[in-house]
Assembly symmetry: C2
Homo-oligomer: 313 residues x 2
DNA sequence: CATATTTATACTCGAAATGAGTATTAATAG
DNA sequence: CTATTAATACTCATTTCGAGTATAAATATG
């Protein structure tokens, strides 16, 4: 195979939420890194990239993708193929897809919590201790090792902006920026792997993934966290009817942050995102909650409806 | 050449602003449709897609791209190659690049106002009369011609959301949605061209472009209009020092809307986006204005600084 | 059965952001 | 000298936002 040949790979971060955990569908083999479902784009049989994606995802995973969205096209040499100039150059187009959880039908395919790959992104309980315990010390070392004072200053700024060291607030949308910084600092296993190094002295944060799939997943999380705020995409992940707390817990799971309950309700109500069904949830512990459903009409009424986040604490 | 072969094309919407007009760099030949600068991605010599873009843009247009951003990867059959199954399938990765205006060095390359391609997007003087005069009547016809009542309802909703017929406000970010609707309704020349039809009875709105380049440009405008609000990208288009009115006119040119002067100043000042230089503009008509420059430190201080729009009227 | 606990839901209140001005200053054009 | 144009400071009402309190309706527990 000539190294001059390009092939296009389609990768999908297929996301659902179950029991307050955001899940991503991965292909897992024993001893190998997890991978996102991915396949080649066949230019002969497929008219569009997205139809190609839907076709093989349907075949391979038996999932019916509701909402899909193109994320980004990655073409860096050395971050897809294990070794450069080995066969065709793969350019991969990443997609985000949302679906309701269900049993994976295909072999070796399973749901995994996405915070397994990004443990520093889940702030629901508290600021993850690994940030102060591992990440920031390692990044400070990375700043010190910079070749010049200017490079060190740039690294320090990125560190501050990404992980909020020094008064800056945590921005839950900077998932990709944070992953890329950890990659460049050699703190995720993919970095050493892509560089061909075996030594892995530094801490390895989160589970690694095949090729650049963790980068695609980071892009997917970032996009979803942002999009949620101005488009009602969360409802793709909800059952037809749900309580307001279930909706809130889903948004919290995705954004990785806790929200103020009363203000959350005020927002979804005022925006007309939901309507009561008159039915009530099966009583579990507290007072039974009314079941709501998504008001599809909102798409016709408001230009940018979404679940804006009013954070707690 | 086998139709099974894929090649990757890189296209760039290179944008600048001069005299209150947003400009895009196009390759123009007599008698042919304008094109965005585009070229193949060479997987052998280029490590990343973006480095490939910078290289041939530098060679072809002699422009030094400051800010660049990947937009979207388009792979629809029939919207790039004039006829399907003719040679290699081209998948094109679109980019947005911002630069200061200057003389195009390459032959056949020139700046054009982007509203030439999207006349309905410039609301600075007034709501463009062509919307009520041409677009909405033609779209109402398109709604009537739908195959089923459900399809008609969907078309009507898109029409309302895109062009704000019936109380809905104009959303200046929906540039791509509007272009795609006009394309599907057969109101832009590319639609008839891609379908292989010669008849062009319906009105042809805006100047057409080669291949799917007008779609890429629509994506670029939409992205820039959105991004401006939370990232200080406008300053890539400004001279090192500028008056606040010049800055406002630039934002207005890009967003296609007029802004409230006093509130605009309040926003950029409060956000710390600019700092006074102590120097003053050469007096033209009114009172001389202070010259300001971009405060780069803001990138380190605030998580999402941008020029939020507080519209006038 | 009384009471603690859990959850739902309504309502309040101050701070900040936003939209739409008025008022005043400083220049040029006639 | 005065009209015009633009710059800049300041005001004010409304809306939005963050952070509560208050109360209701269920279960769990002693």
């Amino acid at each position: 195979m000539s190294p001059n040949v390009i092939s296009i790979g389609l990768s999908a971060a297929i996301v659902s939420v179950e029991q307050e955990q955001p899940l991503v569908l991965v292909v897992a083999h024993d001893g190998a890194e997890d991978a996102l479902p991915f396949g080649p784009f066949n230019p002969v049989t497929q008219r569009t990239l997205e139809s190609g994606l839907r076709k093989w995802v349907g075949e391979q995973t038996r999932f019916d993708l509701g909402y899909t969205e193109q994320l980004y096209t990655f073409g860096d040499r050395g971050r897809h193929s294990p070794s450069p100039d080995d066969g065709a150059r793969v350019v991969s187009v990443g997609y985000l897809a949302l679906t309701r959880p269900g049993k994976p039908q295909a072999p070796d395919t399973r749901w995994r919590g996405w915070y397994q790959y990004f443990p520093w992104e889940d702030w629901r309980q508290a600021r993850p201790p690994m940030i102060d315990g591992i990440i920031l010390p390692a990044l400070k070392k990375f700043v010190k090792e910079a070749a010049s004072p200017i490079a060190a200053e740039q690294r320090r700024n990125r560190m501050r902006l990404c992980f909020g060291d020094g008064g800056l607030p945590w921005d839950e949308e900077k998932v990709l920026e944070r992953y890329e910084l950890l990659y460049e600092a050699g703190l995720v296993r993919e970095a050493a792997r892509d560089a061909g190094k075996q030594a892995k002295t530094p801490p390895e944060l989160g589970s690694p993934m095949l090729y650049d799939h963790r980068r695609i997943l980071a892009t997917a999380i970032a996009r979803l966290r942002g999009k949620m705020k101005y488009r009602p995409v969360v409802f793709e992940l909800m059952a037809p009817s749900f309580t307001l707390l279930e909706l809130q817990r889903t948004v919290e799971a995705l954004s990785g942050a806790r929200l103020h309950k009363q203000n959350f309700r005020r927002l979804v109500a005022e925006q007309g995102l939901v309507e009561g069904t008159g039915k009530f949830s099966a009583p579990t512990r507290g007072r039974p909650a009314e079941l709501f459903s998504f008001r599809r009409e909102v798409l016709r009424e408001r230009p940018a409806p979404g679940v804006r986040l009013s954070s707690r604490r």
